[in-house]
C-alpha cells in the first residue's frame, strides 16, 4: 500500500528542489509568505508555552513541528472558505485570519476566544475527536446547494481516523460529492499512542480508497508540497469533483499539551532525524536566492511585536462577564433559566 501512496515532496531536507515540475509555480512572494507565516505562528506558539509556564495562560496544546502543514494548507484557502480546526490547529486559523489575541484568550479559558473575525468562517476548535468532519461536509454541502465555489477544510490528527465520525464525515462527503478537503496531520502520536497502535494500515491516505475519493500522502514538513497539494484538492472541490483526503506526515516536536511529558511515552531519539520545517524552507531560500537577511530580521522583529501586542491585548481584555454564563444558550432565554440567572446575580449582590 505504501508504494501506492508515495510521500510527495517538493523540497528535501537539505532544501533542494526535488520535484522540478513545480519550479515555475514557485515565486518569491509565495515563498516569503510561507516563511513569514511560519515564523509568526512559531513565535506565537513558543510565547504561549512561556505564558503557560509563568501561570499567565491555561493548559496549552503546542503545534511546534507542524508549522509547514498548518501554514501551507491555510494559505491555500480562499477567504470565503470554511475552516474546521481542532485544538492544535491555531497555527492554521491564525494564518487564515483569526486574531492572535483571541486565540490566547481561548487558551485562557475565555469563550471570546472562539469568536472568529466577522466574515471569517472559522469554527470553534473541535475538542472531541473527529466530530468536526461531518460539520465540514455539511457546510460544504450548503455551498454546493447554493452553487458557489467555496469549500471547507477539516483539520484532524492521526488518532481521529479511529473514530466513527471520521468514517461518517468522509462517507457523507463522498456520497454527496461535496467540496471539502479532509486535511490530516499525521504527527505520529495521539497523545501517547503511536500510529502503529492506532491502525493496521500502512498509510492514512489509503483510507480514501474506501470512499472513492482521491487520497494523497505528502511530506507535511515541506510547506511547498502542502501548499500546492492543498490548492489542488481545493481546485478539485471547487470544480464540483468532490472531496479529497490529504495525509500530511509531520512531527509534533513537543508535548500533547503543557500538561504532559512526552519523554514518558516517546523515545527521545525518535524525532531527532526530522529536519525542522522552518529550517527546510530556510535552506531552500538560501539555496535558491530568496534569502534576504534584512527582510528576515525585519519580519522577526515585526512578528515579535505582533505577538507581544496580542499578549497585551489578551491581558487587558475586559474581565469575563458573568452574564455570558447564561446569555448564549438560547436566542431567547427560557423563564426557568432567566430565574436561575436572576437568583444567582442577586446572590452575588449579597456577597
Amino acid at each position: 500500500m505504501e508504494q501506492n501512496y508515495p510521500m510527495k515532496r517538493i523540497i528535501d531536507d537539505q532544501g533542494n528542489l526535488v520535484d522540478a515540475s513545480f519550479e515555475d509555480m514557485i515565486d518569491e512572494k509565495l515563498v516569503k509568505e510561507l516563511y513569514y507565516n511560519m515564523i509568526r505562528i512559531r513565535t506565537y506558539d513558543r510565547k504561549a508555552i512561556n505564558l503557560q509556564r509563568q501561570g499567565r495562560l491555561g493548559t496549552y496544546a503546542p503545534f511546534e513541528g507542524q508549522e509547514a502543514a498548518q501554514v501551507g494548507s491555510a494559505l491555500a484557502l480562499n477567504s470565503d472558505d470554511w475552516v474546521f480546526p481542532t485544538y492544535r490547529d491555531h497555527g492554521a486559523t491564525i494564518t487564515f485570519g483569526k486574531s492572535m489575541a483571541r486565540t490566547f484568550l481561548y487558551w485562557n479559558g475565555r469563550v471570546e476566544g472562539c469568536v472568529p473575525p466577522e466574515g471569517k468562517n472559522i469554527f470553534p476548535p473541535a475538542v472531541p475527536i473527529a466530530t468536526q468532519l461531518p460539520h465540514a461536509a455539511g457546510a460544504a454541502w450548503a455551498e454546493k446547494l447554493r452553487g458557489t465555489r467555496n469549500a471547507s477544510i477539516a483539520y484532524f490528527g492521526d488518532g481521529a481516523t479511529s473514530e466513527g465520525d471520521f468514517h461518517e464525515g468522509l462517507n457523507f462527503a463522498s456520497v454527496f460529492q461535496v467540496p471539502v478537503v479532509f486535511f490530516n496531520q499525521n504527527n505520529g502520536y495521539a497523545i501517547s499512542v503511536p500510529i502503529e497502535k492506532q491502525m493496521n494500515s500502512a498509510t492514512i491516505a489509503q483510507k480514501s480508497v474506501a470512499y472513492g475519493m482521491p487520497g494523497v500522502r505528502i511530506d507535511g514538513n515541506d510547506c511547498l508540497s502542502v501548499y500546492f497539494e492543498t490548492k489542488k484538492a481545493f481546485d478539485h472541490a471547487r470544480n464540483g469533483d468532490g472531496p479529497t483526503l490529504i495525509e500530511a506526515v509531520t512531527w509534533r516536536t513537543g508535548a500533547h499539551t503543557t500538561a504532559d511529558d512526552p519523554s514518558k511515552y516517546r523515545p527521545k531519539e525518535q524525532g531527532e532525524h526530522i529536519v525542522d520545517p522552518i529550517t527546510r524552507i530556510e535552506l531552500f531560500m538560501k539555496n535558491y536566492g530568496y534569502w534576504d537577511d534584512q527582510w528576515v530580521q525585519d519580519i522577526k522583529a515585526k512578528t515579535t511585536i505582533e505577538v507581544e501586542q496580542a499578549v497585551e491585548e489578551m491581558e487587558n481584555f475586559p474581565p469575563p462577564n458573568v452574564n455570558d454564563v447564561f446569555d448564549h444558550v438560547f436566542a431567547e432565554m427560557p423563564t426557568q433559566l432567566a430565574e436561575q440567572k436572576e437568583a444567582y446575580l442577586a446572590h452575588l449582590e449579597r456577597q
Binding site: 472562539c114 470553534p124 461531518p134 461518517e168 464525515g169 462517507n171
Partner: protein, 338 residues
C-alpha cells in the same frame, strides 16, 4: 383543542388528518415556503420514511431537498450542523429514538452547545424528529422513551405532541425556532385517531402546555402517548366520583410551569404519568416544579406512575412496562384518599 376551533373558524379550511399526515403536511408546507428547508434521513426519500412521514415529499421537492442519507446517525446530525450554520434549516429524521445514540455526541457537544461556544456567532436552527415510545409491538430497541437525555441537555428544546393538531403546529414552530428543537413523536398516536387540522400554516407555541380536561380533585400531567392513558384513567375515576384535570405538557423543555402551578393550586393533588423509566425521569422535575410553586397547596404527596427502571421489555411483555389506566387510577385514588 381550543386553538383548533378558533383557527377553524378563522380560515375555514381544515382537513381530517392523522398525526403522521399532519407532520407530513407541516413539512410540505415549510418546504414550499422556505427554500432553506432541507430534510435528511434514512429511507425518507423514495420510501417516504418507515412511518411515511415524508411520503411524497421527495417526488414533489426533489432529491436535493428531501435526501436519502447513508445509514449514519452521527453523519446525519453532524452534516445537518454544517448545513444549519451555513444558512439552511435542516430537519433531520432519526428513524427511531432508540437509534439516536450514535448521534448523541453530536447533539450534546455541538448542536446544543455551538451557540454558547461561539457567543451566538454560529447558531444551529435545526429540527430533529424522532419517533419514540412503546406499545406498538415493535422489535426490541425501537421503543425507548429517553426524553430525559435531551431535556437535561442545555441548549436544545424538546417537544412531544400527542395529537395531529399539536404535531403540525409544534413542528412548524420548531422549524421557525432560532435554536435546535427535538420533536419526539409518539408512534402509538401516529395513526390512532384523525381530527380536523388546518391545511394552512399555524404554530403551537413551544413552552406551553394545554389543559385537555378540566377537573377539580387532582391534576394528571402527561405527554405523548400517556395523554390518552390519562384520559382513560380520568373517565374511570369520574365513575368513582373523582374529578381529574389533565395537562398535556406538549413541551418537555422548557416546561410550562405556570400551567402546572395554576392547576395544582386549584386541585391540590397531582399524579404524573410518563412511560420513561422512573429514576431520573422527567417526573422528578415536575415534582420539583410543584414543590417550588405550590407546596403549601398540596393535600397529598405527589404520585408518579411511570415505566420501571428496566430496559423496555420485548413486546410480548411491554404492556407490563407501560403505565395503564388501571395503574393511573390507583395513583389517583392514592392521592385523593391520602
Amino acid at each position: 383543542m381550543t386553538q383548533l376551533k378558533e383557527s377553524d373558524q378563522q380560515n375555514g379550511t381544515t382537513k381530517q388528518m392523522t398525526m403522521i399526515q399532519a407532520i407530513n403536511d407541516g413539512m410540505r408546507l415549510m418546504l414550499e415556503e422556505d427554500d432553506r428547508t432541507i430534510i435528511l434521513g434514512e429511507d425518507i426519500g423514495k420510501n417516504g420514511g418507515v412511518f411515511r412521514a415524508t411520503e411524497g415529499l421527495q417526488e414533489k421537492f426533489g432529491v436535493e431537498r428531501v435526501v436519502d442519507t447513508p445509514l449514519s446517525e452521527a453523519g446525519i446530525i453532524g452534516t445537518s450542523i454544517g448545513l444549519a450554520v451555513n444558512g439552511f434549516r435542516p430537519i433531520a429524521e432519526i428513524q427511531f429514538l432508540g437509534f439516536i445514540y450514535p448521534a448523541y455526541e453530536q447533539i450534546m457537544t455541538h448542536v446544543s452547545r455551538l451557540r454558547m461556544r461561539s457567543m451566538s456567532h454560529f447558531t444551529v436552527p435545526m429540527v430533529i424528529r424522532a419517533p419514540y415510545g412503546a406499545g406498538i409491538r415493535a422489535p426490541e430497541i425501537h421503543s425507548d422513551s429517553t426524553e430525559i437525555l435531551f431535556t437535561h441537555m442545555p441548549g436544545i428544546k424538546v417537544v412531544c405532541p400527542s395529537n395531529p393538531y399539536d404535531a403540525k403546529g409544534l413542528l412548524i414552530a420548531a422549524m421557525e425556532d432560532p435554536d435546535p428543537v427535538l420533536v419526539l413523536e409518539t408512534m402509538k398516536n401516529y395513526r390512532s385517531k384523525r381530527e380536523e387540522v388546518p391545511v394552512g400554516k399555524y404554530t403551537v407555541e413551544i413552552g406551553k402546555g394545554e389543559i385537555v380536561r378540566e377537573g377539580t380533585d387532582v391534576t394528571l400531567i402527561a405527554w405523548g402517548a400517556m395523554v390518552s392513558i390519562a384520559e382513560k384513567a380520568a373517565e374511570q375515576a369520574e365513575k368513582k366520583g373523582i374529578s381529574c384535570e389533565i395537562i398535556d405538557l406538549r413541551t418537555l423543555y422548557p416546561i410550562d410551569r405556570d400551567i402546572i402551578a395554576q392547576s395544582v393550586q386549584k386541585t391540590t393533588r397531582a399524579v404524573i404519568i410518563h412511560e420513561a423509566h422512573n429514576s431520573g425521569g422527567l417526573g422528578n422535575d415536575l415534582v420539583s416544579i410543584i414543590n417550588d410553586t405550590s407546596f403549601l397547596y398540596l393535600r397529598a404527596p405527589i404520585e408518579r406512575v411511570t415505566g420501571f427502571d428496566v430496559p423496555v421489555p420485548f413486546f410480548t411483555l411491554e404492556e407490563h412496562y407501560l403505565p395503564t389506566p388501571a395503574r393511573v387510577v390507583e395513583g389517583i385514588e392514592k392521592v385523593v384518599h391520602f
